[in-house]
């Protein structure tokens, strides 16, 4: 029997409501994704206005491209540094803020405020602070330490980019951890205490398992975010010194918009997509081993 007029009207309303987001996703997510794969099979020079099908040539080229290998290496270093420092610091801050101490609100605001600051503005301010004669080295010299020329030495530049990014986003992770910590039942802590567990033991065996879903969420967000880093690199180092901070997205940008190699850049975009997908699937699959319960 055909649906009644009322049901049909309900369906129409439903479809109308989801239509904008479905159409938007199709136009701005799915279509570009498909197009990038299509472009990656072509050699496309916008200046010469040539668009030639080359099959898998761009993918073969990736294998032999030393620049891409350098970019992948830089990306791995950046991601490891960012994830380790960011999550450790966010967790530490959250644990500290979870104590009922005076001034926690101020402290929380202090660490959260960079999250709402414009990324580029934040980075530009840091670029001044990190200059050879900038604020950071001025502060260090007061302590009698001679700071490096942060953005001009390879190791220091990578560390600087990581730290700028950590302070930008650590507040968000801190809040997520704090919310999770506040959801840990006090009676479990108390029971552990009565059983004679010390502070570290309680943290490791009670708190950490209970907040493990949040640890998973935060680590996925942070890893994915670390693979997307672009503006900080562009403003702070331009990929240098040498190619020490040329991460994958920045390399992609150079290929496309500096060298006009849109086909090759699209192939790199596909590679990045696969990397993100694989990492996320791995984390998602491994959750059963270490995440206490689903969110």
């Amino acid at each position: 029997m055909a649906a009644s007029a009322a049901v049909r009207r309900d369906r129409l309303v439903g479809y109308t409501m989801v239509a904008p987001v479905v159409l938007g996703s199709l136009a701005f997510v799915v279509l570009p994704l498909v197009m990038v794969v299509w472009y990656s099979l072509h050699e496309w020079n916008v200046l010469a206005n040539t668009f030639t099908f080359v099959g898998a040539e761009n993918y073969q080229r990736m294998v032999a491209d030393p620049g891409l290998a350098d970019a992948l290496r830089a990306t791995v270093w950046f991601s490891i540094g960012l994830v380790v420092v960011n999550i450790a610091l966010a967790l530490l801050l959250a644990v500290l803020l979870n104590q009922r101490l005076p001034g926690t609100t101020t402290f929380r605001t202090f660490f959260f405020s960079p999250v709402v600051v414009s990324l580029v503005a934040w980075t530009i301010v840091w670029s001044f602070l990190l200059q050879a004669d900038g604020g950071i080295n001025g502060f260090l010299s007061v302590l009698g330490v001679e700071g490096p020329n942060w953005l001009r030495r390879p190791e220091a530049a990578m560390a600087a980019v990581i730290i700028v990014q950590v302070f930008k986003n650590v507040g968000l992770n801190m809040i997520l951890f704090l919310a999770a910590l506040q959801g840990v039942p006090e009676e479990l802590q108390e029971a552990a205490r009565l059983d004679g567990a010390g502070a570290w033991r309680r943290f490791r065996s009670v708190t950490l398992p209970l907040i493990s879903p949040t640890v998973l969420l935060v680590s996925i967000i942070t890893i994915v975010g670390s693979l997307e880093v672009f503006a900080q690199i562009d403003v702070l180092t331009g990929g240098g010194p040498g190619s020490s901070t040329t991460v994958l997205v920045y390399y992609l940008y150079q290929q496309a918009f500096r060298f006009n190699e849109f086909g090759y850049a699209s192939a790199i975009a596909v590679l990045l997509f696969v990397i993100v997908l694989v990492l996320t699937l791995l984390q998602w699959q491994s959750r059963k081993r270490w995440v206490f319960h689903e969110l």
């Binding site: 701005f28 997510v29 279509l31 570009p32 994704l33 197009m35 990038v36 472009y39 020079n45 916008v46 200046l47 010469a48 206005n49 668009f51 990190l130 200059q131 050879a132 004669d133 900038g134 020329n149 942060w150 953005l151 001009r152 030495r153 998973l216 969420l217 996925i220 967000i221 994915v224 693979l227 997307e228 331009g238 990929g239 240098g240 010194p241 040498g242 190619s243 040329t246 997205v249 992609l252 150079q254 496309a256 918009f257 500096r258 060298f259 006009n260 849109f262 850049a265 699209s266 975009a269 990045l272 997509f273 993100v276 997908l277 996320t280 699937l281 984390q283 998602w284 689903e294 969110l295």
Partner: protein, 437 residues
Amino acid sequence: MSAHPTRARRTAAAVGALGTALALTSCAGGSSAPAGEPETPDQPVELRMTVWTADEAQLGLFQDIADAYVAENPELVSGVSFETIPFEDYTTALTTQLAGGNAPDLAWVFESNAPEFVASGALVDLRPVLEGTDGYAADDLVPSALSLWEDGDGLYAYPFSTSPFAVFVNTDQISAAGQPDPADLVADGEWTFDAARDIAAATAEDSGKQGLVVRDFDYQSWENLATVWSGWQAQPWSADGTECTFTDPAMVDALTWFHDAVFTDGALPGPGTTADFFAGDAAMTITQISRASSLDDSFAWDVVPLPAGPAGQQDVVGQAGIGVFAAGDHPDVAADFLAYFTDPENAAQLAAYFPPPRASLLNGEDLAAANPRLSAEQLESVVVDAVEDAVTKPAHASFAKLSETVRAELDALWVEDADVEAVLADTCAAITPLLED
């Protein structure tokens, strides 16, 4: 459902964003109709020219010339707009517009991109239009100024600005430090890079500011060092662009001199230190003469030619061309406008900011009339003498890749304990495959 996989897809989408703009308007093919006498379009057209200046006086002058053209040719054009794209991202933004099928009708083009743009077929041949326009006096154009923009018999852009590099001097700071006046050294034939370094180092020491700034170099845009190494007759690659010459003795000597001037003598600001001569932060700066418009009267200043190096004094010009895009909607109308924009009368007006490639206008008096900040003598010595025998900054058909590769290699040079020869050997090793391509 949990948010996590959605996040992954969203990320993938962000990656795919490279294609977003491209997807909608990709591969808009350009007809490379030769520029000729424009056919009258059905309706008057709008022309758009991309530029990298944001100077209101300059844009005002462009608009005045354009409005006069519109008034004379109402059947061809209804308006001409000038779109400013910031200098740093200019070429990137321009090629992105091309990729999006949104080519401007006319565009300024950097000299370093000239071979790439000329060879690509993206620009139309302007010679028939310029030579065929009454009163244009195409034979007045200085041949040496055009060579960068030619391919065979074709001329693919008009070098509207042939602006020599010179040294601007803050004479207040230099005399306060008790240093000799560079203009006197020029007169005595003693204006050398060594003299400039010594004056810069002593003045910086005295003022607590910076000495000599190679403007726009910033330890990134290394091609601006051509203003220095040309004094050693050094070049980054051979004239035919196939062989790396960074390891030639002249280049090694020039960059050793530069490195020591920065790290031993403190004559130039080191990496990561910014100093704006025009804000009074430095004693001297090497930049184009067209920057004179940035000077106010907050300090006493002078302008002198580039110093001599061991191989003698070599003038360097920075050029910029205006090209007409084949992929634009109305290349023939755009070319006709360009012929008007740069005819003898308008070129004389533009000379206020951009030294023109016209022999008849290249004299101290005419330039001084258009350029009140500089005296006829200054212009004679710095501009007129320079244009005829000057070299341009490095250019190459693969300049974008070369520029980035050399920048990455030279980063190793900008530290105190650098091994200049080793860094330059690495540089040649890195760019040789690109040059041979």
